[in-house]
């Protein structure tokens, strides 16, 4: 075909973040991107050759940093930015370590042919873990540059000063050289040490807090202008010569076996190219996008039904989960003697909590463009783990890895959906079949029904209270519907592979989560089982990692239950938690516990919490108000939220009118951006608490658009939304304060905080998510609280 496997110029230029900012600062706004690319001397952002694509060597400074003759720098990192501004934060940290002006830097992320393999994104590790090698490499580059200047001027390094990429000799202003003059256009040729990419390092030390110029400042995100004026090139925007469009045809019910395809039903449609099928996988390719959509809808196929139902209907799910034989059982963790605590308790309370399957429901369906030119494969994708997709595509197609590259580009946030990415392998397979570049795009019903799901949870909790009202025994037992949980970019579990008949011998075990609190309860047991649905393969109820996997489910149970325990002894829910966070407990959790105490204090103060037990006496009138609290940690990050609700007694409608969130994320590299990430995370938690549930009958998923699988909307936004950043470190002024993960922590306690607030307002405890109006109204009616 016509393609040369080259990346279109406007795409190539757009892969470098902040390049537009560069142009502005250089006063060259009118000059085309291509011309700038040619003018700047660059190794890392030059068009790589026609392949093969070897892995950039992370032991070379040159793989991470290029300094241009005009004293600007390009950073290349193996991460992807899912919309939380990590790319900007990488620039802040690396600019500081290199001592170069932030405005004179650009960043390239996640293209497997030119950036080192840092996996991509996930687990909120961007700043907590993955920015460290970047920082050490930048510090090493600075050290090498200072040595070059030292040689040039014949003075020792300690007599040099450096600011914004300009080295001067102290006391002699005539002696001055820029980084660009020292090395611009040339390579460092400096080899780093360290056994893996996270350990990679040079000789230089990294900076501490007082030395930072950009880190800790609310620098504006570099990706926002292009997203606002329409110039950003997204993965959905890639156009290649000779490209075609493909759409999938999904089985009409789960476990269906394809028995026939009537190609005549579409072959006379305009633009029709081919029906592509293997096993139960079916797709149609056409010249134009709307033609592919029409042809996929019109294609006549017949399917045989499976002998048994793939799963129970969603209304029977928890009944099924209660009685199913576990596929695996988690080893119980036990502290103290829970049995003795329960048998000697003054009061024992029990409760059971249910969280259904929830979808990732990315704002747009899976998509990718694959270019098979010259016997290579280039995939343009928003896969958050671009390197994994590259390996997955190579294995799936049986191609050597160095014949495949993935170019990560911006895409709709998928909260983990793009780590179990489907469209990349589909586009690559069809492209190989047709010998032409192919764009695949999942439609809305396809994505909402067939995307990966967060496992349903059924959690049984028991608590033993002594005569003084202390929680002395605690028992968490979870049952998750998570057997055959999908991993990241697995070529033998990606949906196209499953539909084509490939399946790994052993389904992944899955997991059943655990509470994440630092309560010092003397006798504590946590255990869990994983159950599976009858259909484990070729099913839309395939579980995968959804933002903070299992966290919201486990925490809905554990933090609702702590409130129930507080209510059982008529204690204030915040004070009850503080009592359990005994600061003097020596069990290895002191660091997180001290910071938990600080965060709970901060959230209470910011809210103006007045101590009293829940619930309030039920008030008169249509609207009942109340407040609820939730607390949890994720990794080293502590989050606590207070939600104030209005509950409508006539309709059951719940509005979170005010939310205060306090969070200790350690060092805030970009405070404004961090606050926003916390805010958006907790609103995602609110959406899952209020609305989100996958519905299905015994044949198929029936929630498949924004009506049947609703999400939070503008009208749901709290009237007041406050995020308080806390530094609860026992040594708050320490110069080596580190950043912790931010992308997921804040949604963990939200479901519980909301249920606790509804209880406070109404006296009605609802132990089933989502807290939609019909469910709330039914509970209010049952308790005689409705109007």
């Amino acid at each position: 075909m016509s393609g040369m496997n080259t990346i279109p110029k406007q795409i190539e230029a757009a892969l470098v973040t902040h390049r537009r900012g560069f142009l502005k600062s250089a006063g060259m706004l009118a000059v085309s991107f291509g011309a700038i690319g040619a003018a700047g001397v660059s190794a890392a952002d030059a068009q790589p050759g026609p392949g093969p694509y070897t892995n950039p060597d992370f032991h070379q400074v040159d793989s991470w940093i290029v300094i241009h003759a005009d004293n600007t720098a390009t950073f290349s990192v193996g991460k992807t930015d899912l919309g939380q501004g990590t790319g900007t934060s990488f620039r802040q940290l690396m600019s500081d370590e290199l001592d170069i002006a932030f405005e004179k830097t650009t960043c390239i992320m996640g293209r497997t042919d030119t950036t080192v393999d840092q996996v991509g994104s996930g687990g909120s590790t961007a700043l907590e873990r993955d920015a460290w090698p970047m920082r050490r490499v930048a510090a090493e580059a600075r050290r090498v540059l200072l040595e070059m200047a030292s040689k040039k001027f014949g003075v020792p390094v300690d007599q040099l000063a450096v600011s914004d990429g300009v080295v001067t000799v102290r006391g002699d202003s005539s002696k001055r050289v820029t980084y660009g003059e020292l090395i611009g256009g040339k390579q460092f040729n400096v080899t780093l040490t360290g056994s893996n990419i996270n350990a990679v390092t040079g000789q230089a030390r990294t900076k501490t807090l007082p030395e930072f110029k950009y880190t800790g400042k609310s620098v504006q995100r570099d990706d926002i202008p292009g997203k606002v004026d329409g110039t950003t090139q997204w993965a959905v925007d890639v156009k290649l010569p000779g490209m075609v469009h493909a759409r999938n045809v999904k089985p009409p019910f789960v476990g269906a076996k394809l028995t026939s395809i009537d190609e005549a039903s579409v072959k006379n449609l305009p633009g029709f190219i081919k029906v592509l099928s293997k096993g139960n996988y079916v797709a149609v390719a056409c010249e134009r996008e709307e033609q592919a959509i029409a042809a996929a809808r019109q294609l006549k196929t017949t399917w045989a039904k499976p002998a048994t139902a793939p799963f129970p209907a969603s209304e029977d799910l928890f009944k099924y989960m209660r009685t199913a034989t576990p596929a695996s059982t988690m080893r119980a963790t036990v502290t103290g003697n829970p049995d003795a605590a329960f048998s000697g308790a003054a009061k024992v309370i029990e409760a059971e909590y249910e969280v259904p399957f929830q979808g990732h429901t990315s704002f747009a369906g899976a998509h990718a463009m694959a270019d098979p030119s010259n016997g290579l494969m280039t995939v343009y994708s928003n896969d958050m783990k671009a390197y994994g997709l590259r390996r997955s595509v190579a294995t799936f197609l049986g191609m050597p890895a160095d014949r495949v590259r993935v170019i990560w580009m911006q895409g709709p946030q998928g909260f983990g959906r793009t780590a179990a990415e489907d469209a990349g392998c589909e586009a690559a397979w069809i492209a190989k079949e047709l010998g032409r570049p192919v764009r695949v795009q999942w439609m809305r019903d396809e994505e909402t029904a067939w995307d990966t799901k967060s496992p349903a949870f059924l959690v049984k909790m028991r608590g033993a209270l002594d005569a003084a009202g202390n929680l002395v025994g605690y028992d968490y037992n979870a049952r998750s519907c998570d057997h055959n949980h999908l991993g990241y970019n697995e070529p033998d579990t990606v949906l196209i592979a499953q539909l084509m008949g490939t399946r790994r011998a052993t389904p992944a075990a899955g997991s059943s989560g655990s509470p994440s609190d630092e309560y010092a309860i003397p006798n504590r047991k946590e255990s869990g089982d994983v159950v599976g649905l009858p259909a484990l393969w070729e099913t839309p109820l395939r579980t995968g990692n959804l933002r903070d996997p299992n966290g919201p489910q486990a925490t809905f149970a554990s933090e609702s239950f702590i409130d129930e325990a507080a209510a059982a002894v008529k204690a204030d829910p915040l004070e009850f938690r503080m009592r359990l966070l005994k600061a003097d407990t020596k069990d290895g959790a002191e660091f997180r516990r001290a910071r938990s105490i600080a965060v709970l204090k901060a959230v209470g103060e910011a809210y103006g919490w007045d101590a009293r037990p829940s619930p309030k006496p039920v008030a008169k009138g249509e609207i009942l108000t109340g407040r609820g609290i939730g607390y949890s940690f994720r990794g080293q990050t502590i989050a606590a939220q207070i939600i104030e609700v209005e509950v409508n007694r006539r309709t059951g409608h719940v509005w979170a009118k005010r939310i205060v969130c306090a969070q200790d994320t350690g060092l805030a590299v970009n405070p404004d951006n961090l606050r926003y990430t916390v805010e958006c995370g907790l609103l995602h938690g609110l959406s899952r608490a209020l609305y989100e549930e996958v519905r299905f009958d015994t044949e198929k998923v029936t929630s498949k658009d924004w009506i049947s699988h609703p999400t939070l909307r503008h009208a749901d936004v709290p009237e007041k939304l406050e995020v308080v950043l806390v530094n609860g470190d026992p040594n708050p002024g320490r110069p080596d304060l580190a950043p912790y993960g931010a992308g997921e922590a804040s949604l963990k306690p939200t479901m519980a905080a909301l249920a606790n607030a509804i209880y406070d307002a109404t006296g009605v405890r609802i132990r089933r998510i989502p807290l939609r109006a019909d469910r709330v109204l039914a509970a209010l009616k049952a308790a005689g609280v409705s109007l």
């Binding site: 997203k227 429901t361 958006c680 995602h684 939070l712 909307r713």
Partner: protein, 158 residues
């Protein structure tokens, strides 16, 4: 296939497509205007919003043949058409000042819907903003800052 004359961002174009082709694909694939996005194809999310004759319209469910009836060309504006002489529209500037987008994929719909609203109602109340914007979805949950940016832009354009 049939020929249709379209006026987009002040420029005239002729496209040769099936009459029922949604405007979204014509804008994105024939005219290379990538501001409007495919989100649902059902008119439910707002990602594909463009302004046609002053009204925010979902281009994913608007057949191209509906735009050229009676020989009167509709005036279509996309996100790319908001800036004038290289200057951002006040809404776009407010979006940068408030640092609104997370992933940003929905922001075309947020901005274009807000634009149509402010053109008709320069000083919307909070309730009007919530009501008008309620059909424009965001999965990153950028809603709070979208609303703040609309209020900021409303002040600037007052």
């Amino acid at each position: 296939m049939s020929k249709f004359d379209l006026k987009v961002n002040g420029k005239s174009h002729t496209v040769d497509v099936e009459p029922l082709t949604p405007l979204l694909y014509v804008l994105r694939n024939d005219l290379d205007l990538h501001g409007p996005k495919f989100g649902c194809g059902l008119g439910q999310c707002g990602a594909c919003t463009v302004i046609i004759n002053g009204v925010a319209v979902r281009s994913c469910i608007t057949p191209v043949s509906s735009l050229a009836s009676g020989g009167v060309k509709s005036e279509i504006t996309t996100l790319e058409g908001l800036s004038q002489n290289g200057n951002l529209h006040p809404l776009q500037q407010a979006w940068i000042d408030e640092q609104v987008p997370q992933c940003g994929f929905c922001q075309n719909g947020q901005i274009m819907t807000a634009k149509a609203m402010l053109d008709k109602t320069p000083h919307p109340t909070d309730a009007q903003i919530r009501q008008t914007m309620n059909g424009v979805l965001c999965r990153c949950m950028s809603y709070n800052r979208v609303q703040m940016a609309i209020k900021r832009a409303a002040k600037v354009t007052a």
